[in-house]
Symmetry: C2
Subunit: 459 residues, 2 copies
């Protein structure tokens, strides 16, 4: 597992251009959850198409869907060789609260060795490493297998169009492995491969009390306040042990063996550093589980947003008509997000008092995912990381969700390898998202080894 | 108690001008809680000064305070006659949610016999009746007593400068009665005089969990979410019987006798119509009390606003750093709002877990008020209303607060008479605030009788 000079040399000669090309992609504010960015989605897709085409792919196209388009590319060097499908996404999360950003989210800049911008890591920075690694292999004549690209624009809103896209293009997307760079690693000293992802059920609730805002003096105490009611309903969704109280919620949760929990506990984890990084004095979660277990093998319920009544400066003595919350649940194998969404809706409607009208809607969701560690895909990733990082990676379960990964397995019948280079400090989905330059270049270096070892292992 | 023609005649001859003059006042967006309206406060004060001066007052001035200015006016016809001090306010509440207004809040218009605008009732429409009734008495040479005006610009934010103003101008403000038109009546068929007002303690809380927004997948379940925590804290402030759980909260609540409660129960109240007017199928409040009692003689706790996390379109999987709420409590005699604010703060900090940092601040407050019904002031109001409405009014306790009224009693040693002409359907503090033209003109007609009877009763 020798590092090869031609890879490092190619990166060294082209590193500034790689970065400038990534910046071009980042500058497109392709926020998939906000309608006003529809045009930007097309621009980002076209940018990707151009990158793949210029790296000398046989095919590079922007394929329309019911939602945002998918970029598809391929280079088939020999039908008898294995084929890898690279998946990534060109869409990004919203940027608010904007005032907490130290530099504008769509004007990438490098500070202290890190790229600061929305999408710097998730997933423009990471997915673009795949584009540049592909270019490197093509230009250095070292492409060991066939490569396909599928880059979508709806990952951050739950990939609503991608399942249908996969169904419609099964033959075109045929592959032996799906490679994804959209996750993190424990640290630069402890490379890791993500072997588990949580599922997601994302709901929105709307409570209506009186049909218009009332004077809180004239009516307060006699008319149920929908915000007060909402706090009671949400408060009741979890108990004092951090357990979710929705009936049936845990029925399908796969219990992880004591043996496996012991193994997981061996991965390095510095709880003090973890707390310090987010500036909290105490952590909290489900009783009986460690911090890593709470995000890795257990489901959770978070209010992602709440609003109602007067939220401006000063005071307004209003008894609001409406109260809203966005509430999401992270799920683990074998919870089905559709089942959980229905259980949530049923329970929420059941516990709501008749003083308010309640609407519950599912915004999006996805299934959890686990991948075995004895496959050619995992072994190739392990060896690739060992080559460039000097030590074998640990397999970890992430708390995040890439809902489409389990869909790929269902529709395309192929496992995915989540070889990501992000760090916890990258602030994905937060203000000041960033991605270290070191990780960007190390990623580009590592990816060619993955294809090399994967091709060898498949022989 | 005969209605006198000259009053009705004067109103009839000048009704269009009265309305246009009120519209001029309403068009000034004098929202006291929003800093960008500082200039508008001055404009509204100057408008009032001009109105009083043009009605031939001896004095009409705009007096600066630490906050918004106070308009002072007087006409002393004979130092030996009684003196009444008219109190009102020229500031109004904020207007959001703006999209629910059927016409722009500061462009008054008459639809179906009602003036629609912010301040149409509270308190531009009502206070301006006092200005026009004053003009009427002066122009018809029927002013029976001395009259003073004190119109402030900070009522909707708790009158922070008015106590100091009263302290500084005790001699100037000397009077035998304070007359206020800033409350409602049961209905046009059931005139009423407000003899009780609730106090107010208005707080804002801010919770900080992690120091920046986190990815709810990577951290959800392991890090306390400040919005989830906030819902638990607020939910716990009231119990299943609608009682407020803050230790000591009820200690000073004046219990109302069964006899007085029975008397109150005789005032007409149509619960079905009440529910229909606000479109709710069920009411809720403190167990053991009727709807009228819940707003009249019992304290309450309402969330006036709540916000945190992502509140835009679609979904964002964020574990927010911050959560906020504006929480106000309506108080009854003899609760002290300063004591209650301190109890709230102490309790809220005590119940907050160490997973979050908590800030509590008091935004404003005021004491509750009760007035006896055997005084010349009450009797004069009762006879005045009987003259123009054809039946004696019922004394009622309002759930609202005019915090300054109890301050007047403390500093100036004078009781206030709350003779208001608003209706519950006026939507004060809400979108589409309105005020019936009939009430506006009936108010102008009734007020001169008050001064007449009051002067007679004081002989």
């Amino acid at each position: 597992m020798q590092r090869m000079n031609y890879i490092q040399d190619y990166i060294e000669s082209h590193k500034d251009r790689f970065l400038q090309e990534l910046f071009g992609l980042i500058r497109i504010p392709s926020i998939s959850s906000e309608k006003e960015h529809k045009e930007d989605m097309i621009k980002a897709a076209e940018y990707w198409k151009k990158s793949i085409r210029e790296a000398d792919a046989d095919k590079a196209e922007v394929i329309t869907t019911k939602g945002n388009p998918v970029v598809y590319g391929e280079k088939i060097i020999d039908p008898l060789l294995p084929t890898a499908l690279v998946y990534g996404h060109y869409d990004v999360m919203p940027v608010d609260p904007l005032d907490l950003w130290e530099s504008p989210p769509f004007r990438p800049e490098v500070r202290n060795g890190r790229i600061y911008a929305r999408g710097a890591d998730d997933d423009k920075g990471q997915a673009f490493m795949q584009a540049k690694a592909f270019e490197l292999m093509v230009r250095t004549n070292t492409l060991p297998c066939n490569i396909k690209f599928m880059i979508e624009g709806e990952e951050e809103i739950g990939s609503p169009s991608l399942a249908a896209f996969c169904e419609a293009h099964k033959e075109m997307l045929k592959s032996d492995i799906i490679l994804v760079s959209d996750t993190g690693m424990v640290s630069m000293d402890c490379p890791s491969v993500t072997v588990g992802l949580r599922g997601l059920a994302y709901m929105q609730v709307e409570l209506t009390g009186p049909d218009h805002d009332l004077h809180s003096g004239l009516f307060g105490g006699a008319v149920a306040n929908p915000v007060n009611v909402l706090t009671k309903l949400i408060a009741g969704l979890t108990d004092e042990n951090g357990k979710i109280t929705i009936p049936g919620f845990y029925d399908d949760v796969q219990l992880v063996s004591t043996e496996e929990r012991d193994l997981m506990a061996k991965a390095p984890f510095d709880e003090e550093a973890y707390k310090q990084a987010i500036d909290v004095v105490a952590l909290d979660g489900e009783a009986g589980y460690t911090t890593r277990e709470r995000t890795g093998i257990r489901p959770s319920l978070d209010v992602n947003g709440i609003w109602g009544g007067y939220t401006g400066e000063g005071s307004k003595t209003v008894l609001p008509s409406k109260a809203y919350a966005k509430i999401s649940m992270r799920l683990v194998p074998n919870q089905n997000f559709k089942t959980i969404s229905r259980l949530f809706e049923k329970h929420f409607l059941a516990i709501a008092p008749d003083t308010v009208k309640v609407k519950v809607k599912e915004l999006h969701g996805g299934q959890a995912y686990v991948s075995p560690i004895d496959t050619p895909g995992y072994l190739a990733a392990s060896r690739a990381l060992e080559t460039t990082f000097g030590k074998a990676p640990v397999p970890v379960r992430s708390g995040g969700s890439i809902p489409i990964i389990s869909t790929f397995e269902q529709i395309l019948g192929v496992k995915s390898i989540l070889m990501g280079f992000g760090l916890e400090s990258d602030a994905c989905h937060s203000p000041n998202e960033n991605y270290p330059l070191e990780n960007f270049y190390k990623g580009i270096e590592t990816i060619p080894y993955f294809f090399k070892y994967f091709t060898e292992l498949m022989k």
